[in-house]
Amino acid sequence: MRVCIVGASGFTGGELLRILLQHPHAEVVCATSRKFKGEYVYRVHPNLRGVTQLKFVEPNLDVVLKADVVFLALPHGESVKWVPQLHQSGVAVFDLSADFRLKDPEAYVEWYKWPHPHPYPDLLAKAVYGQPELHREELVGAKLVAVPGCMATASILMLAPLAKHLGGVPPVIDAKIGSSGAGAEGSVVDLHSYRTYVVRPYEPVHHRHIAEIEQELSRLAGRRVSVAFTPHAVDLVRGIFATGHVYLDKLPTEAEMWRYFKSTFGDSKFVRIVKDKLGMARYPNVKYVLGSNYVDVGFELDARLGRVVTFSAIDNLVRGASGQAVQAFNIAMGFPEDAGLRHIPPLPI
């Protein structure tokens, strides 16, 4: 299947190249970059030297439409300029931006500061939220997929098993994210001198991923769910670790918690439940998912406070973006769900 990556010079574009160049059912026929057009992709993504002789090309519709499938790795607010024409032309679109994740057109005004509601509510309705474990059936044959946000992925998956049991108190989500989450063109605070040793909050009360976390948990719960979400920038390049604090009227037993998690993720190739009384990793750890599409989730019970603590660890660029996009692509196209994604995280790292 011929694929094109639009916006291929950024981190998620680079990860799409890394994954799709080794995908057994994909042929990368174009990688666009306005900034680097004419340059070999390995000059921008040095890890791809010797793997491909592909060059970046100018992003234009004529070139892109030679592909059967288009991955959009563009900034928020840019994909919306591409998707209507691509969709109309019949190619399958996997959009890694937020532009088609939220079902409510008005939500883009509140969470993404758009001056007007989303201009294509019909496409919002058609777009499948591309979290494979929660939307697997809808993804089959999908032509427009909105790939979830990185911290949203970590947050939603660790709380999904409890969604139906949430009480009136909003779950508290504390997330830590590495510097690559800020993209390949970060601001001055992402320079090494400012970024090293950092542990600091980022958008502590109104982060835009709240919108999709609440959208998905509400859908699972069958009623409106709010979350108290605070992310932190930490001194990692890759990785997200999320901790959820959930207060319930009646604390589940450990056996019940196992049932909730197994029934949610039982058939997943990529979600690993890590709650082990033995061994080196008794709860999830970013260290053991790096470079992979795995989501490690876990939990603990606090009987004293009636609290369930949940955990998740992902690689933000793989499972939080490009790997999840390819997983959704595999399902949509009828390929094995893990095609091109069978990377075992390296250890030690």
Partner: protein, 60 residues
């Protein structure tokens, strides 16, 4: 061929196999959650008993 000795973890519900030659009093652990058990063999019956042994203890 002898029937497989399948037991179920009382914590996470995982079913797992014990070796044919498992002995009474042997320590085993669940491959999923790591809960540890003492294997009890009584005639043809095999069961698991909670193991309350060593625990990790950090901090002073």
């Amino acid at each position: 061929m002898a029937a497989k000795l399948i037991v179920q973890c009382g914590v996470c519900g995982t079913e797992f196999e014990l070796p044919d030659d498992v002995m009474d009093g042997e320590i085993t652990s669940c491959p999923t959650c790591g809960a540890r058990y003492i294997v009890r063999v009584r005639g043809n019956s095999v069961s698991l008993e909670e193991f309350k042994g060593d625990v990790e203890d950090y901090g002073q």
